[in-house]
């Protein structure tokens, strides 16, 4: 990786209230569509976090920055203003916070040198984030020289949620995180839990041994070899903050999908999860980056339209319920059926 990509023009848009979020055509085509076949079941679908052959994709850079960057960072700031518990770090995680700051600053400045720059002189560092208008001198390792803790500071400038996992006793412990774009789980509740505990509410996967295998894989992730996997759910309106904390506020929207509005109101919510071993703390950084595609966006790629239709139609009921799709699944299946020609699809998730 490490090209010198130029960033697109950032959209002025919202993830709440009037929901003015939209994808450009390019943004649709570069999305990490999660279905590589016509049906879906849990799997330990890990792979190395590397570029693929596709010219413009969410996998081009280690930490993707796209046209939604500024809008997403504004939304994060709003969430934190309302609820500071969305960022938490247990006391032993400070070094992992510095590790995270270094990793993100280093990759962002290598990937997008026109937009981000990092200059180091011993422990005296100089960080410039041009899109957000930030120019910060600080001393690496001295939290008093930053306006926030290192983890909060850098994750207020990076799309996606960030969970930091401490490794001990052959397990991973969720001991720090910045979580404002989550698919209905609470950092405040889960912080301090181990890998099996925070996954406790997930149906079917424990019995299938998914978490045993996933944990083994994750414990073996080394500094030089970050890994990734995709996960998904669906969200009514492009709302990043689908938190349990606010479920009583956004829950009613789950019943607002109709045959008339489903194309633009219902979104596939894709999580690009990646896994990074951190050098000083030996913690594992777990970024969870959210991409939204409306049903209409998906239908613009014929292969995706057909596949989305088939996946939703054949999804096991307990999985659909766990993902919260019961209110609108059939409406989506009905609308998508017009984009499914019934012909076989080509292998892999990329557009034809």
């Amino acid at each position: 990786m490490g090209s010198t990509a130029s960033l697109p023009k950032f959209r002025d848009e919202t993830y709440r209230d009037d929901f003015s979020f939209r994808n450009s055509e390019q943004s649709v085509l570069r999305a990490p569509f999660p279905f590589d076949k016509d049906s879906y079941m849990y799997a330990v679908n890990m792979e190395l976090h590397q570029r693929t052959g596709q010219l413009n994709s969410a996998f081009n850079e280690p930490f993707d920055v796209d046209e939604h960057y500024l809008a997403e960072m504004r939304d994060r700031a709003l969430v934190l203003d309302e609820d500071p518990l969305r960022y938490q770090s247990l006391p032993h995680m400070e070094m992992a916070g510095w590790d995270t700051l270094e990793l993100l600053m280093t990759h962002k400045s290598q990937s997008y040198p026109e937009s981000f720059s990092l200059t180091r002189n011993g422990h005296d560092w100089h960080w410039i984030n041009r899109p957000m208008g930030i120019d910060q001198h600080f001393r690496f390792g001295d939290a008093t020289t930053l306006p926030y803790s290192p983890l909060e500071y850098i994750t207020r400038q990076a799309q996606g949620d960030y969970v930091v996992l401490d490794e001990r006793q052959g397990n991973l412990w969720m001991d720090a995180g910045m979580v404002t774009t989550q698919a209905d789980w609470s950092l405040d509740f889960d912080i301090g839990m181990n890998f099996y505990e925070w996954h406790a509410p997930v149906p079917l996967a424990h019995e299938k041994g998914i978490f045993d295998r996933a944990l083994k894989y994750l414990l073996a992730v080394q500094q030089s070899n970050p890994a990734r996997r995709l996960n998904w759910t669906m969200t009514v309106n492009p709302r990043l903050d689908t938190s349990p904390e606010n479920f009583h506020k956004w829950g009613p929207e789950n019943t607002h999908v109709t045959p008339e509005n489903v194309a633009d109101k219902l979104f596939l919510r894709i999580e690009l999860q990646s896994f990074w071993r951190l050098p000083r703390s030996n913690a594992l950084l777990f970024p969870i980056r959210c991409y939204f595609l409306s049903m209409r966006d998906i239908s613009t790629v014929p292969k995706w339209g057909a596949r989305m239709h088939r996946v939703l139609k054949t999804l096991p009921p307990e999985l659909a319920s766990y993902k919260g799709l019961d209110n609108f699944r059939q409406t989506a299946v009905d609308w998508l059926s017009q984009h499914d020609d019934g012909q076989p699809t080509t292998p892999g998730a990329q557009p034809d």
Binding site: L85, F189, Y196, P201, F247, P252
Partner: protein, 202 residues
């Protein structure tokens, strides 16, 4: 050692075992209500020296029976008594502050009391995996409202109202040791007009 359980289940839900004496430099026993039964069995199966270096904190709890006299008669070197598990926490915290290296901790009582005791131990830096626990009495739950963050004590129904914000909550099996509570999530967020009946559950 939360090894055995009579409540098969959910990976985040605490499992309770049976108290049994181990060789340790000292022993700290914390019991609530009907947990007195576990303390009697523990002491009966322990060596003669066990009590010489042992502390018992006993909270009578809200049940009708009061085992305070029986607990005092067991002959622990140090014995503190409290009305409830909550009221016992300052003394438990003080005991945890001055705990000697190599002390074994034994916790017993109802589900809520165990939540409080385990949380106090964890807050004091004890690894929960080294604690012995045994459940006696009510399965009434401590519940954290995920919305307002308030804790509701003695939850016995499904669903249950948050004592703080009043939302009707689904009491999940998802449990946080750090908070010492099960998670409550608004059960009728999608349709507030749909109000499910409460059933006695815990």
């Amino acid at each position: 050692m939360m090894s055995t359980t009579q409540y098969a289940s959910f990976k985040s839900r605490p499992l309770y075992g049976t108290l049994s004496p181990v060789s340790a430099t000292a022993h700290l026993v914390v019991a609530e209500g009907e947990g007195s039964e576990a303390v009697k069995t523990l002491v009966a199966s322990a060596s003669a020296e066990f009590l010489d270096n042992a502390t018992l904190i006993y909270a009578k709890g809200s049940g009708p029976e009061d085992a305070t006299d029986a607990m005092q008669a067991l002959g622990f070197k140090r014995f503190h008594t409290s009305a409830t598990a909550t009221a016992s926490l300052p003394r438990l915290n003080a005991a945890l502050d001055r705990l000697r290296m190599g002390t074994q901790i034994y916790l017993t009582g109802n589900e809520s009391a165990l939540s409080l005791f385990v949380k106090a131990c964890a807050d004091a830096g004890q690894d929960y995996q080294g604690l012995q626990t045994e459940h006696h009495g009510s399965l009434a739950r401590r519940m954290q409202c995920v919305h307002c963050k308030g804790i509701t004590e003695n939850v016995t129904t499904q669903p249950a109202e948050c004592a703080h914000c009043g939302l009707l909550l689904l009491v999940r099996d998802h449990y946080s040791r750090r908070i010492g509570a099960f998670q409550g999530v608004n059960i009728n967020a999608e349709d507030p007009a749909d109000v499910p009946a409460k059933e006695e559950m815990f």
